[in-house]
């Protein structure tokens, strides 16, 4: 009984082959580096710390959304409601700060401290995410349709709560103990703006969750073969539901950050954010079919989109061309995804 492994004669894969493979998998990172080099050499202002700070702050918004979106897309789903959830969460936060929670039954108005406000807004976001998850798992609604529906519902809810208006001046009142909301969007820790820290924390937590925990493994398994996952004892419904809740949670964080940055909450905040988030995820190499990809890629994808937008502005490229170029980049990314699939399809064997 010789060890059977000796039987396989290994053919050393050619060195460049392996490197090519690695570059291909990290293509978002490669694209990012290339873009940075191009813009840095064309425009000296690009690498100034002022520009970089603004750039990363912008990226943070999309990156946090993309982290949540990744969990949904990895299961083979999609979440179109993230922008609306951001809007709703901002309105919930703004409303709680400015007008408090009105409880007509008791004839009282309750005001919360800022950290509770943020928590409640995040809960609202996760709640809409849970609704998405229930529609998809319990009622078998296609994710595209389910989240399209909640996209409208959440937006409508935001408009209803604020009566279509903006909650301005979210300063809070010292006598109500709800001041300090501005810190989240404009404060900084160790010279770095809080939103950037939030991106780092959400990104690290997401990457950790996806790659190191049983939950993350199950997310990937569902995207790879839902039935086989189910038969392996994965509670498919529950895991998917959690995925949508994570996405809703991240969206709410984004909504609150934006409200804090502007110190006002608009019901229209976050329109079309879902498209940017999906673009970042796809650019990052996560397959829309599910099962392949990861959180790190999505963050790199968000940076690619952000750097592209920022650099093109610095170079004075017309706004219309900027839109065209962004579109081209997204399509190229999907083409690469296709190539990857064909590549692995060729490797399929029996």
């Amino acid at each position: 009984m010789s060890t059977h492994n000796e039987v396989i004669r290994r053919v050393a894969p050619a060195g460049h082959h392996r490197i090519n493979d690695l570059l291909f998998r990290l293509r978002a990172l490669v694209a990012l580096i290339v873009l940075v080099i191009i813009f840095a050499s064309l425009s000296p202002a690009f690498l100034s710390s002022g520009n970089l700070m603004i750039l990363v702050k912008h990226v943070a918004i999309n990156a946090i959304l993309a982290v949540g979106m990744t969990f949904v897309i990895l299961t083979g789903g999609i979440d179109l409601s993230v922008g609306s959830i951001a809007g709703l969460a901002g309105i919930v936060a703004g409303g709680l700060i400015n007008t408090g929670l009105v409880l007509p039954a008791f004839g009282v108005v309750v005001y919360f401290q800022v950290w509770l406000v943020i928590l409640l807004a995040a809960l609202a976001g996760s709640g809409v995410g849970a609704l998405n998850g229930l529609l998809v798992t319990k009622f078998s609604v296609a994710p595209f349709i389910a989240t399209l529906g909640t996209m409208y519902v959440a937006r409508g809810a935001a408009l209803l709560i604020s009566n279509g208006a903006t909650f301005p001046n979210l300063l809070g009142k010292p006598e109500l103990h709800n001041t300090g909301f501005a810190w989240l969007g404009s404060g900084s820790i160790l010279f770095l703006p809080v939103p950037i820290w939030l991106m780092a924390v959400v990104g690290a937590a997401g990457a950790f969750l996806a790659s190191r925990t049983p939950f993350g493994r199950r997310i990937y398994a569902i995207g790879g073969n839902e039935r086989a996952a189910e038969l392996s004892g994965v509670r498919v419904g529950r895991v998917k539901l959690l995925g949508y809740m994570i996405s809703g949670f991240c969206s709410a964080i984004v909504g609150v950050i934006i409200a804090s940055q502007l110190m006002s909450a608009h019901p229209a905040t976050g329109e079309t954010f879902e498209l940017n988030a999906i673009a970042a995820v796809v650019l990052g190499g996560t397959s829309l079919m599910g099962g392949r990809g990861g959180v790190g890629g999505s963050i790199a994808g968000a940076f690619v989109i952000g750097v592209l937008a920022d650099g093109l502005v610095l170079l004075g490229v017309s706004q219309f061309w900027q839109i065209v170029i962004k579109g081209v980049v997204i399509v190229v990314a999907v083409l690469l995804d296709q190539m990857q699939k064909r590549f692995s399809w060729r490797e399929r064997s029996s």
Binding site: T3, H4, N5, V7, I8, R9, R10, V11, P13, H17, R212, T213, P214, R217, R218, Y220, A221, G223, G224, N225, R227, A228, A229, E230, L231, S232, G233, V234, R235, G291, R292, S344, R346, E347, R348, S349, S350
Partner: protein
């Protein structure tokens, strides 16, 4: 007959995959009107060779000849044009389309540019008749049991009037009666001059249908010979040198604790009032023809199919209302029949597939431990002799039989008390089959009860301590080891509905 010229020939073909040399300068040919049988261990390169012949893959070195002329097959389309058809080991059907639509996929019969449904249906029904099946041609393929899907796959090749037919384990999900029909069809094709390449791990089949045999081992051609000149021993010697000796000891239920009790399980139209018990340490086979309800029964036991009634007790506690996950946690696991649809995560590596059902056991403080996962995977790779470059190899790049072993490993890692296995040796070579059942036997001696379904009479006869026979959704008979015989099993499997009433206690 040896005068006949080669119809399709592979000359000195070599195939490299990243990390593996799957074929090494192999010469192979098939003549018109012969069945050339290809055999070898799991991962020997059989599928790779026929994929080269079918244009699915291209050789790294070497070339193909068709009718004496060099030919390049860039795609399956090229092969189809040349008249080369293939039945894939891993079925390549569209579950969302009907039987007819599948049969005529990419070779639709048209009339003025529009699909001629009438003609297609007629041909499809004709094919079903030829294969003696009464499968409704309008059913969605996804709703058919695996065996019927295999029939559809065969019809697909037959509908294309091929000159060379490559069959990669066409009978792995068929039972003896269907196989007989298929063999009749193969003989008819042979008579019309079609050249057939036939891969199977069932040696008796090869001896019956083959004219010539070629043995592959580790990607190299070992020997070719006329079937008339060889016997089963010759083949096994050339495959690996290892012999398949079924384990001798058999356990008796007497005195052992009962671990599984199934009472009056009922699934409308599929399983009727089935009751059975399993004792610790027993290895029980369930035999039956295609559509007998074995898969459905197993699925009910594992919790992946709802039953209309009945009780399932594992070690005395009720299971009916538990989910698949909870049953696995309690120690009741099922190795599903269809490894592609229900067993494997195609995007995962071998190692990740293996640990999927036991992630908690491989986690510390809620974190997956790569070291522990690798340790478990490596242990089972060695135990089941999975041919691979390591746990990180993508599962889809393993050979079919080795993929099957991966699925079995996944459920072994859940430490079951009762292990249900639906056709566990599907696509597994003789040596590996022995290993799987050796492991099953060892588990049994450690007190695990094993219930396995098989369409292979010899497997059931030689391995089971006790055999239950199912026919049309009912248990039609139960045989102790001493009462086992081929005739008994066949008779019970074909039993008429009225005469069925057995409680297998």
């Amino acid at each position: 007959m040896s005068e006949a010229p080669a119809l399709l020939r592979a000359c000195q073909v070599t195939k490299h995959y990243p990390g593996t040399l799957a074929l090494d300068s192999v010469d192979f040919e098939v003549r018109g009107g012969e069945v050339h049988v290809l055999i070898g261990e799991n991962g020997a390169g059989k599928s790779t060779l026929v994929k080269l012949l079918a244009g699915v893959e291209q050789p790294t070195q070497g070339y193909l000849e068709f009718n004496g002329r060099a030919i390049r097959l860039e795609s399956t389309r090229d092969a189809a044009v040349a008249g080369i058809g293939m039945i894939y080991q891993e079925l390549s059907l569209f579950p969302n389309l009907s039987v007819v639509e599948n049969i005529f996929m990419a070779c639709e019969r048209t009339r003025g540019g529009v699909i001629d449904r009438k003609a297609e249906e007629q041909i499809a029904r004709g094919l079903m008749k030829r294969l003696e099946q009464d499968i409704d041609v309008h059913t969605l393929v996804g709703d058919l049991p695996l065996g019927c899907q295999q029939i559809v796959e065969i019809c697909r090749a037959l509908a294309r009037n091929v000159r060379v037919l490559l069959m990669d384990e066409p009978t792995s999900a068929l039972s003896p009666s269907e196989i007989e029909v298929l063999f009749r069809v193969i003989r008819e094709l042979k008579a019309t001059g079609v050249g057939i390449v036939y891969i199977s791990h069932k040696l008796e089949e090869l001896m019956e249908i083959g004219d010539r045999v070629t043995v592959l081992r580790d990607g190299r051609l070992v020997e070719s010979a006329a079937i008339a000149d060889v016997d089963v021993g010759w083949i096994i010697d050339r495959m690996s040198g290892r012999r398949w000796a079924p384990p001798a000891e058999h356990a008796e239920c007497a005195g052992q604790a009962e671990v599984l009790r199934v009472e009056h399980v009922h699934v409308p139209g599929r399983v009727h009032d089935v009751s059975l018990t399993l004792c610790a340490g027993e290895l029980v086979g369930v035999y039956g023809l295609m559509g007998a309800g074995r898969t459905e029964l197993f699925e009910v036991l594992a919790g992946s199919r709802a039953a209309a009634g009945g009780r399932i007790l594992l070690g005395g506690s009720r299971m009916e209302h538990l989910s698949v996950r909870e049953r696995i946690a309690q120690g009741l696991a099922l190795v599903p029949e269809d490894r592609q649809a229900a067993g494997l995560i195609p995007t995962f590596s071998l190692g990740r597939n293996m640990t999927l059902a036991s992630l908690e056991a491989h986690a510390r403080h809620g974190l997956l431990s790569r070291a522990e996962e690798d340790a478990s995977a490596s242990r089972l790779i060695a135990q089941l002799r999975i041919k691979t470059t390591g746990p990180a190899q993508p599962i889809t790049s393993l050979s079919g039989g080795n993929q099957q072993k991966a699925v079995i490993s996944k459920y072994l890692l859940t430490k079951p008390r009762v292990l249900l296995m639906d056709e566990p040796s599907r696509g597994v070579d003789v040596g590996a089959r022995a290993e799987i059942f050796e492991i099953a036997r060892r588990l049994a001696s450690e007190g695990v009860a094993i219930l396995f379904a098989s369409s292979d009479l010899h497997e059931v006869l030689s391995l089971a301590d006790r055999v239950l026979v199912m026919a049309r959704g009912r248990l039609s008979a139960s045989f102790a080891r001493s009462e086992l015989s081929e005739q008994n099993l066949m008779a019970a499997a074909c039993a008429k509905a009225e005469s069925l009433h057995v409680n297998a206690q």
